[in-house]
Amino acid sequence: MQIPVLVFVLKRIGYMVFTMVAVSLLVFLLLEVNVEGVAVGVLGPYSTEEQRNLWLEANGYFRPAYVRYFEWVSRFFTGDLGHSVRFNVPVADIMWPRLWNTAILGFWAMAIIIPMSLVLGVLAGMKEGSPQDRAVSLLCILTVSVPEFATATFFSAVFVFGLKWLPGISAMTDGFDWVQLILPVAVLVTYDFGYVARMTRASMAEVMTTAYIRTAFLKGLPYRIVISKHALRNALIAPFTVILLQFNWLLNGVIVVEFAFAYKGFGALLLEASLNEDIYLIEACSMVAVFVAVSTQVLADIGYMYLNPRIRFK
């Protein structure tokens, strides 16, 4: 029984490696095959043709693309991510701290989204069609319909300009400040909990109609035992996957929120890099973003296998 599990995990990791290779190729193709673009990115739009050629020559850009690709990939493994033109520091020096800031933001957002959406989803799905179900469903539709930048605008209007409770900027120039974290987290939670809650509700509602829940009731088990022992176990399998895959979508909101509140995070960095054609920074950021995304997908698959005995004991 242990060996198939191991094989499964190894297979998933193998597939992850394949995906990362494909992604790195794609990123390389997009950003570095047009060497002229690289030169413009590094030297700026006002550089002369001659300057660019000299720079390209000096940095080995006239070698075949595949050679440069392998060199690029191997440099990645040594931790040498290149030099950021925009910030004039090594990419690693600016990217890792920014990633840490985003991790803080994401952690707090998830720490609220997960319990909140699971509880609401289970409450709604437990009694399909009841007032509590309709209320939760409507709330979820409303919140997922408002884009993050709109939520940010509304919240700022109320809490920053109206009530003057919270700061409208989360740049944390004087060190870490909890108060500045509130609005960004609130915006992320507002937009993202609805989707997970709806999925949980659907899953729970489906489980409640199954024959084995009827069996549990007709065995004479108390209501709370039927819910906690029989229903939740099966109903939470689907949301588990959804939550882990949600990391991918959370990044949407993270970028918007960091931009809106001037929070110094990974998303804002990627955006700034892109707007300024800071090629090495774009490359590093997108590779890291994809790596995080793919890792959560692998985790989701492995977790799913553990939660679902139908797959675990085949």
Binding site: I141, P147, F149, L251, S274, S286, A293
Partner: protein
């Protein structure tokens, strides 16, 4: 029913089948009446579509014309022009810009969504029905694209190739096509095990016929619901891109772009950002409610 009997004598097969399809479409929309949520969604969406179509008739001013800047909602400028929603930082009428802004989003969001659907459906049908190498290759390609957080894909692509209308639509197709493919593929894998598909195969129907006539129409229910949800999501995406400064270039009005441009003045003049946010939220809400209503009635059948 009597009418049908009379019709039987004539040769009306092609015409009647078109008629039937039309009748069914009308009927399924009539069913929507039973869902209050769905009707609310339909109302919002139709409202914005009408506003977009009749924009030149409704809008009080030219959306590009400059008047007195920074007027608050309901204020009148020196020449006596009334600005119901105020003016922006360079004196353009907010209301007119909102009305014309609906055009842009209601052209690009459906265009991008339907193009993505075209790509996704073709890929999904091939992967699901043909199977074998088609399936392996298409699924792997899809997996690679889906492993990007979508916003990263947009930022990198648009950052590299530039923010033009075609590029934005293309980026949306690239980012959502594989997701649609996955859904279509799943539906196809289910439908292809049905006995009527086996019946078609034992009649020697071509793959194309089976995919387009026997499979695709039977996948329409979930696909229509998904398309509605996706329209909402693409609307948000287009808004976000504009908000981040990666949207279509000014000066044509664009809801996300309006928020982006007015952000710095939001402290003193919140109306400049609030109204476009309300506009985009209400349109997306319309799509989402419509999708929910459609799902509700499709489950009831």
């Amino acid at each position: 029913m009597k009418k049908n009997n009379e019709n039987l004598s004539g040769k009306i097969v092609p015409a009647s089948s078109v008629g039937l399809a039309f009748k069914r479409a009308v009927k399924s929309f009539a069913l929507l009446k039973e869902s209050r949520i769905g009707m609310a969604g339909l109302f919002l969406v139709v409202l914005w579509i009408l506003i977009a179509i009749f924009a030149p008739l409704i809008a009080p001013y030219d959306p590009l014309a400059n008047f007195q800047p920074f007027l608050k909602p309901g204020m009148v400028d020196s020449k006596g022009n009334l600005f119901l929603l105020g003016t922006d930082q360079i004196g353009r009428d907010m209301l007119s810009r909102l009305i014309f802004g609906a055009r842009r989003v209601l052209i690009f969001a459906p265009l991008a969504t339907f193009s993505a659907y075209l790509v996704g459906i073709v890929m999904g049908l091939l992967a699901g029905y043909r199977g074998g190498w088609w399936d392996i290759v298409l699924t792997r390609v899809g997996d690679v694209i889906l492993s990007f957080p979508p916003i990263v894909l947009y930022i990198v692509i648009i950052g590299v190739v530039g923010a033009t209308a075609i590029n934005i639509v293309a980026a949306i197709i690239l980012a959502s096509g594989p997701g649609i493919m996955r859904i279509v593929r799943g539906l196809v894998l289910d439908i292809r095990t049905r006995e009527y598909i086996a019946a078609a195969e034992t009649r020697g129907e071509s793959d194309l016929f089976i995919m387009l006539v026997e499979i695709l129409p039977n996948a329409r229910g979930p696909l229509i619901v998904d398309a509605c949800l996706r329209l909402g999501f693409v609307t948000i995406t287009i808004g976000i891109l504009a908000f981040l400064g990666l949207g279509l270039p000014p000066p044509e009005p664009d809801w996300g772009g309006m928020v982006n441009e007015a952000r710095v003045f939001a402290l003193a003049f919140p109306h400049m950002t609030l109204f476009p946010c309300i506009a985009i939220s209400s349109l997306v809400l319309g799509f989402n409610l419509l999708a929910d209503g459609l799902r509700e009635i499709s489950l009831r059948d």
